[in-house]
Point group: D2
Chain length 456, copies 4
């Protein structure tokens, strides 16, 4: 018989019971549920609603229950949810005293508390994983500071870059991910307990005290909103979507870079797998799986947005679906970040190959334009001149470096003898010294700044 069954004539249908049960998912929250209950009972003592000695027994028993669930000594299967499971266990052990725990609260605010406690921890975990990921990117950048990579737009050669500069692009994406999670944290970090089912309570409770015990800087302002709200999960999932989108781009790049046509990098055997049919294969499965899991996290976001759409206030049982989306995404993001960092730590960079490919195409075209601009040719005019040179080279199967100075001057008399030095590969990269550019000092400045950020 359920704890809430006083008014019911028929017992819940067994299929319905199984269908509505959330224990298979929310058992993950037992620790947070118990911490919340302990803070709650302490507050009830402070407010003289429950006696101190009763509270002590409740706390002791809750701690035992926590320990036993951890060691899998309590069978949770078949329970309605983690809140009921723990309260039932408490009442089984402590009788009437245990029956006092649920005073002035409801499962509606209790689950919100559990989820917020869980999320606070998970945001911190993910922030730390991002930090490690950033640290690895930074190390990779430093180790390969002057390796030259062909930079792409539209997957066509664009301009050469320092590999360090390229890889730091992901550092800044990750930095935004941490920023966003930090902002999300502020909205997660608000204490919901004590709003009852939706209306508050007439009992003289002290919600601020619970907040203090659980280290929340503030409490929610409106009881109806509190039990109806899942913004904190949706915002978190949106942050994860952006994070996974970034990882999917990194994986795409690394899959391309490790493809035989480029061979810029080699992923360690330890992070690839073979084929059951083709013995020569070495596949970047880890990268592909991370890229594929992006779909799962997007799906989680859209699933919870859908579930919450047009729900009337206040609590509705639909909201129970939040846990599936939340737990799945959190787990996959944590796994993806961890393995991605590990894989990056084991990456081999093939500098010669990168540099070789960086020399293909007309990597110096923009530098030639800038050369002309420096000598007073209007930019758009300079762009046309170099455009014609490209066409000429394509027809003659030549490269800029292979043209004679006469040929140069046939396109513009401005060209001088030194032009070819000006456009050698290394110089084309190093001289992009505008702020945020791929130039040498510019990248060094970036690395310095990145280091400072990680130190904080």
């Amino acid at each position: 018989m359920s704890l809430w069954a006083g008014r019911f004539k028929e017992d819940t249908n067994s299929l319905a019971k199984e269908f509505t049960s959330s224990i298979s998912l929310d058992k993950k929250l037992y620790f947070y549920d118990i911490q919340g209950s302990i803070a709650h009972i302490k507050m009830l003592v402070k407010c003289k609603i429950v006696a101190e000695n009763e509270a002590e027994r409740i706390i002791k028993t809750l701690n035992s229950i926590n320990e036993e669930i951890k060691r899998r000594k309590i069978n949770l299967s078949g329970k309605e949810d983690i809140h009921m499971a723990i309260e039932e266990e408490l009442i089984k052990r402590e009788g009437k005293i245990g029956e006092k725990l649920h005073t002035a609260r409801s499962r509606n605010d209790q689950i919100a508390l559990d989820e917020r406690l869980y999320l606070r921890e998970k945001i911190e975990d993910i922030e730390n994983l991002i930090l490690e990921f950033q640290g690895t990117l930074l190390k990779l950048a430093e180790k390969n500071k002057t390796a030259i990579l062909p930079g792409y737009t539209h997957l066509q050669y664009a301009q050469p870059l320092f590999f360090s500069h390229y890889i730091l692009a992901y550092f800044w994406m990750a930095q935004r991910d941490r920023d966003r999670l930090g902002d999300c944290y502020k909205r997660v970090n608000v204490m919901p307990l004590g709003v009852g089912a939706l209306a508050g309570t007439s009992l003289p409770i002290d919600r601020d005290y619970v907040a203090k015990l659980l280290k929340f800087p503030r409490i929610t302002e409106n009881s109806v909103d509190t039990v109806s709200d899942r913004d904190y999960i949706i915002e978190f999932l949106a942050c994860l979507c952006l994070l996974m989108m970034h990882l999917s781009r990194l994986c795409e790049d690394l899959i391309l870079f490790s493809s035989p046509a480029l061979s810029f990098i080699e992923i360690s055997d330890a992070f690839t797998t073979g084929s059951s049919l083709m013995p020569q294969k070495k596949n970047p499965d880890v990268l592909e799986l991370i890229r594929g899991k992006t779909g799962r996290v997007y799906g989680a976001l859209i699933s919870l947005l859908t579930t919450m759409k047009a729900l009337p206030l206040s609590y509705n049982r639909d909201m129970q679906e939040d846990k599936f989306a939340l737990f799945q995404s959190t787990q996959e993001v944590e796994r993806s970040l961890r393995i991605c960092t590990l894989m990056l730590n084991n990456l081999r960079i093939n500098r010669e190959q990168m540099e070789k490919k960086a020399k293909e195409g007309f990597f110096a075209a923009t530098d030639l334009v800038e050369y002309l601009v420096e000598r007073g040719i209007p930019f758009r005019k300079a762009h046309q001149i170099v455009g014609k040179m490209v066409r000429y080279c394509l027809e003659k199967r030549k490269k800029f470096q292979g043209l004679t100075i006469k040929e140069y001057q046939s396109f513009s008399p401005i060209f001088e003898a030194g032009v070819k030095q000006r456009i050698n590969l290394k110089r084309c990269v190093e001289n992009k010294e505008s702020s945020g550019g791929t130039g040498k000092k510019s990248v060094e400045k970036q690395i310095k700044l990145a280091k400072e950020i990680l130190k904080k």
Copy 2:
């Protein structure tokens, strides 16, 4: 050491191994995998690639493995995937002979086969669950054929309906769901095995024979397409999205109908739950959860569409994510359909209350318009006349039935004494005898047709 590890120097990192493993999900496919292997080995015998006595031993052992997995006697955890797990087990038991099983196939085509076999069965299961759901709707319609329900548009009273007609609307939605699944089945029911990793094989195999053994009417036409394709899952998920959308609308209606302000229906205690705080509560949790799970199925569709977007041909490991989306959705849809049907079987209909509410508002307004139209007033004019009558009634706090014939005639001289009989509630419903309308004969025709459909 992995079966494919011949060319590798380093062993797979343990985290990478766990990350890339799909066994926790695809173990669900063991039965289909083994059926596929048995058909495959039979074909290899027919094509003289494997000896008959070898095949017999392989088949016998595969059947034992099947039985043992079913009884959970084989520990699958830690394996890379279900294909490797079974092949390894076979080789462990049968040595060299077992090593012949994977001839002329790859995991790329094997997983496609397993999934298609699984999907065939699941589509049939879901079609059957829809059939039961339709049967229950039909029974409900027959049992309450003449109960009168206020029909809504925009959640405002529109015109009265027979409850049977209203509930049959869901019958036709479900019918489309079955139609769609049937069409999807045609595209699922195509045999993929024997295309190898992507190119086919030089061995003289007979794919049509495998198709025959596994009761597929045809085989896939192109090996590259075959291993790159997950259309069959995405189309299936799209079918499930529409199905869940329909269930979400039914649940929404039933939640409204069972809300205290309407009380048109009562959901059996067995399908509701109470509140941990408010002892008077009886909540339609089952309905809310079905409605909420719509989000999960939408999310699954978008997750797989995302994963497949812009994947280069042919197979990529990203595609492994399909199973999560597929299994989750299938399970939740099956559970939702089953419980929804059961709940409908236990629904109490409150005819008096429905009829009472159906009389509110100006339910006969459209009938008055039609009354005038029958007497030659142009429709748009008639609409205006009745519009003014509504406004008059609102101001005078009267109803159509309460107006005197004089008052009627003050709006149009066309009104005759009999008008009030014409617009009594029952008649307003019964006389909508246009095809597909809520009229009495029209509903009976619908019920007859629905019965014939279910008989097939």
Copy 3:
């Protein structure tokens, strides 16, 4: 001939030209594009790349072009994009001088600047619209401070609430929406111009000066990241999704409240529409459309997340699709907020009807539990006692108020004569004085706080 066509032999196919053109969408950005160009040319002067008198002519002409586009005097159709359209117009008017404008920038950073300028303004616009919306909610709360509404969970009566408390729930949701937009703004408000196509430039530019001119507090750190990044739009869309989700819930509530079965509110005729067929109808179309548009904004978010998934660095043309998602959503959110606020300003509240319905059900059940708890009965025991009372009342068709004190005491001897005063409707609402509860002082505190927030 295109400005970039120097190296091309064939002209762009006319269908391809039309397909790749973005002018139909990005013409909306002309103003921001021109502001950006003016700041850019001023910087080029400061850095001695362009002469002051040339810059003056360019600025003057750009201002004229801005004015003429505003007055629709320049035909933009057929152009590739707004950047090219303006530059071409400039060159047409200023010749060689105009050809200098594009020095040290690319369309890749230019579009990022335009979008960020646009977004800064739009975030401010939407924040202001939310402020007005919050102001209206607050006014509505103050005007109806003591109106009593039945509070729902699961669309079943739960506990009575002050209408003001209920409507303030939306105030706090909106407050989170503003908070989130404010956080998003920080990441939008970063200056991207001057990173070139992807690598930076060798010309001695000063990006910080451009930032200063355009009032950006900082510049982007990495050129590759800068041109590859659309996080700022996706995060903005995620904020809008949550905002629309909130509006969809408000609309759902108001649709329910204005449905004939409840009639808690009346939406002004000015915000409803009629039926082409049923003359009595008055439909809450505005509310339904806002609710429906939630789908459009969710779709925009998923569309851009999809587009960006697994794009290799750096810029790819796929990213051009961002504008469709961005402009559509922004427009619909602005329209929805504006009309929603206006509609709320014209809402009529039906206090009597609300109060009548609030008395239905066993609204005081939780208060009875609290009554018992106050007198020392353990909560869970008290819950059971009241649960049995509810069942007794249902069987006897009685209400709490209708029971004799003897009947009360038959459930628990603790009940005393005063119990019925304790559970009158008004008192049940007023006494929920826990922080954030629906109690009188608690709501007043909320209103005070809300006012302070709006004043800032």
Copy 4:
């Protein structure tokens, strides 16, 4: 004053009017709306509800209105929707007679008819565009039947393929797209008119006659379902999502193939664009934009699924949002298909380069395994042998073709002198003669079958 305004006291707020108006979108449906009206009025004549001469005038005027809208001679802006706009225009011209048109129908069934007529045509259009696309793929396959392409899995070399076989993979995807659209068509092709607002009508109409006039094979079965249903659009959008997913994969492949590292293909200048900054660039913008537009179509699907989720029956104004999703997606899919086909028609294939790359890696590894299997080595053993050969070659920087027969035999004594002939590139492709494989005859069979399909 609106045609439905009889009962209203206040006029619609101008902002609300603009907000609820759908004319900017649904004006696209004018032609279908008028065809529907003409069929409707003919039926009213047949059923003796309207006189023949009146109908003739109505039809004549409707035809004029159609012509004038086509020539943009009627100003539609400011109207509520296309139905009202046309009816008002008719009444303006024909007075009382025009007022008869809307007899026995409502906008709820009228819009369903318009959309179904539109969709029938659009499905046919898209089917034809797919046919052309398939025709182009087939031509490309025939023209390059024996060009050899490195086949990829995981973007790593897997096995060589005929280019024709690879490109035909897309033929079969497109074939499934047409199949699915054909199945969708069956459910679109059902006549909805005559169900009124939701209940049917008491007037003696003949819906089957309307169906016959408009060439629908059957009519909808239930009036409530008919006006609540948007399955036909959602199913259509799901078909388009799969289609765009296929195009996104083709574009991804072609972007890779045209990247400088591969240079397998060259996209005609006419379908590429340049850079405003980098004069050497030639970017596959058309391909990228198609790939990017996949997001837009996914977004449309999710937007309508969201909008329809949990809508109570029957019609709600939220459903008006369907048109935005429908029209946008249809337009973008048509444009994408058209330009993609054109681009393929102008593709240059670089056979030498493909073949050169196909020889890289250990393309013959699987053939070596099959060689051993043919000679009695169990597959898994053979796989290991060749795996070790690959590792040996990698260490010695050799290729299979470069090993001596002695070296071969050091891995297995089974190897014979002829092994190297067996594994030359051409033979490795040609001999995959299993059904659906890349073998020569197998591809010829495919081409033959594809031709037959297109002929139908």
